[in-house]
């Protein structure tokens, strides 16, 4: 595994492609997070809200995206993690997680991070500021 400190600006971490989103994924996240907003789990509630189907919790996708950095907690930690929710994630969508280094200072690495769907559209996008010990 490459150390984050060895990355050059413009280089990316290895993309991670998730399994197609399932209803069970969202039921699990609802239970684990305590976010029981029914548009994430119950079809009728989603359609009442004007949606074509249940949608993933934005925080589910944001939680997934952070795992690109999990293996690097021995050399540093995520100090800042900001995300803008840009598009909806539906059941059966295939999400890919991406992070590219865009700035390097003495002990901070700034990454552009995003999750894109199978059509290549960004569903969430933001920044990770990784602080090196």
């Amino acid at each position: 595994m490459t150390k984050l400190s060895e990355l050059e600006i413009g280089e990316s971490l290895k993309d991670v492609q998730l399994e197609a989103v399932s209803r069970l994924d969202l039921i699990k996240y609802a239970g684990a997070s305590g976010d029981y907003n029914p548009i994430h789990t119950i079809d009728e509630e989603a359609s009442k809200a004007g949606l074509p189907g249940i949608i993933a919790h934005g925080m589910w996708t944001m939680g997934n995206l952070a795992k690109l950095f999990t293996a690097h907690y021995e050399e540093g930690f995520i100090k800042d993690y900001s995300i803008r929710f840009k598009g909806m994630v539906f059941v059966d969508d295939v999400i890919t997680l991406q992070a590219t280094l865009n700035e390097k200072t003495q002990n901070q690495l700034s990454f552009d991070v995003k999750a894109v769907n199978q059509a290549g559209s960004e569903v969430i996008k933001g920044k990770v500021l990784y602080h090196q010990y």
Binding site: A32, A49, M59, M62, G63, E74, I78, D80, R84
Partner: protein, 149 residues
């Protein structure tokens, strides 16, 4: 009506970073790294303990902000920002509270959109900040109308 809530905060609530809750959460986001789950790995890490994933603070209880009545439906999560002083350790006590930082409205396609900036905070027992978790929640005009009836 949300403008009146700016600056209001909840009373601090004691939370514990529970091992079982961390496991369930890590599984739900498909991030089952041994640093989160395996006690031995935790002990031998620089943290001497397992840690929690960065978006874990979603599960904490931040108390109730008096007078802030948010609907449980119709809200849109626009942005989310975490700031950490250090990672959360499994088993530690965290004192959490929420504060309304701001509220403003902007004209949008479907009437005016309300933006509520909520900041969730986590401190150690000595009141030292560990994290802040800021949510920008969008409240459409249609949802606000229902609230005022």
């Amino acid at each position: 009506m949300f403008k009146d809530s700016i600056g209001k905060r909840s009373n601090k609530v004691k939370n514990i970073v529970e091992r079982g809750a961390v496991k369930k959460f890590a599984e739900a986001i498909g991030d089952t790294h041994p640093l989160y789950l395996d006690e031995e790995t935790g002990k031998h890490s620089r943290y001497k303990q397992n840690i929690a994933p960065p978006t874990f603070p979603r599960v904490f209880d931040y108390g109730i902000i008096e007078g802030l009545n948010l609907p449980n439906k119709g809200l849109i999560h626009g942005e989310q920002i975490y700031h950490y002083e250090r990672p959360l350790l499994v088993g530690e006590e965290i004192y959490c509270y929420a504060e309304v930082k701001d509220y403003y409205e902007k004209a949008g396609k479907n009437g005016s959109m309300g933006f509520l900036v909520l900041e969730n905070n986590g401190e150690d027992i000595n009141g030292k900040a560990i994290f802040t978790s800021t949510s920008i929640v969008i409240i459409t005009e249609a949802v606000r109308k229902v609230l005022t009836v």
